[in-house]
């Protein structure tokens, strides 16, 4: 995490992107499986704030993460911070090198089944993913 970047707190109405790297997590109708939102092994779930970013900026960040992970970015889900907060989770700014808008969703319960039911509800909230546009590939 970069110490030099200070970011404002995440507002409930803020939009957050979760990039998707696995095809088998995208259902045939374009919605996401809960698997995408289970936070292990990290204490938080990584998301990117839309704050002051264009569509192209967002996809560029997705591609940068893809290069770091060695997996192609396929799609992204957009959710408002309130979708996490209603499950008593918190979204905190967590800027990293090359992504000042990085944030983490923290406060997950330790029990796996409790994490899963929250993940299912978040996936339902997320609706259909946005597929990576051809021009960004």
């Amino acid at each position: 995490m970069s110490e030099s970047v200070s970011m404002p707190p995440v507002a409930s109405g803020e939009w957050l992107a979760r990039f998707v790297f696995f095809r088998n997590r995208i259902r045939h109708d374009g919605t996401l499986k809960a698997d995408e939102f289970v936070p292990f092994p990290h204490t938080g779930l990584s998301v990117t704030r839309h704050l002051r970013l264009t569509e192209a900026d967002l996809w560029n960040i997705g591609q940068d993460i893809a290069r770091q992970r060695g997996k192609p970015v396929l799609a992204r889900a957009d959710l408002q911070a309130s979708s996490f907060e209603r499950h008593r989770l918190r979204v905190i700014p967590a800027p990293v090198d090359r992504n000042a808008n990085h944030a983490e969703v923290v406060g997950w319960p330790p029990e796996k089944s409790s994490q899963k039911i929250i993940a299912i509800e978040i996936a339902a909230d997320a609706g259909r993913v946005r597929m990576m546009p051809m021009e960004s590939q």
Binding site: F21, F22, N24, R25, R27, T31, K33, A34, D35, V38, P39, F40, P41, H42, S46, Q68, R69, G70, K71, E111, K112, S113, S114, K116, I117, A119, I120, E121, A123, A124, G127
Partner: protein, 165 residues
């Protein structure tokens, strides 16, 4: 010509076909091929059929190394794969088949999906525990159960409720 009742493999179909000498034999050969086609189709549709096991094995193969997600994921172990295979085998014949996946903690997941708010997700652990969570409209159900070789009744009930139109 000879059509033995015990000749039931695909290779024996070819043998029957090549030996067919009459219209009756050709008809019998066609019927046998059709029967095999239906059998394979039903296996593919059944949750315990070839397609389900193939998809499960593919998930295991793709996720058996640590860091398979490029972000520190735990590997899907052989023990987890075996538990998942046994869980799949234990489902009642004709039960709707799940789709498969893996979570970053190395658990294999099975999902039954009837819509965004009619969903059941089951996680299989290497030590024979299953964690389940289901959305059923406005209500939800979640918890953990030991897997002792038989599908837990609660999970079977949730599969039925999620997949019944």
């Amino acid at each position: 010509m000879i059509v033995g009742a015990s000749e039931s493999s695909p290779s024996s179909h070819r043998a029957v076909h090549s030996r067919a000498m009459s219209d009756v034999a050709i008809l019998v050969g066609k019927e046998m091929r059709l029967g095999w086609s239906h059998l394979l189709e039903s296996l593919a549709l059944d949750s315990r059929g070839a397609m389900g096991f193939h998809e499960l094995f593919r998930v295991y193969e793709e996720c058996q190394n640590a860091g398979w997600d490029g972000h520190g994921a735990a590997p899907v172990s052989e023990a987890t794969y075996e538990q998942a295979r046994e869980f799949l085998e234990a489902l009642p014949l004709g039960a709707p088949g799940p789709s498969f996946g893996a979570e970053a903690d190395g658990h294999i997941t099975m999902e039954w999906y009837g819509g965004p708010r009619r969903t059941l997700s089951v996680s299989i652990t290497p030590d024979g525990e299953i964690h389940y969570a289901a959305l059923l409209g406005a209500s939800k159900s979640f918890g953990s159960e030991p897997f002792l070789g038989e599908s837990p009744a609660i999970v079977l009930d949730l599969i039925r409720r999620v997949t019944t139109k």
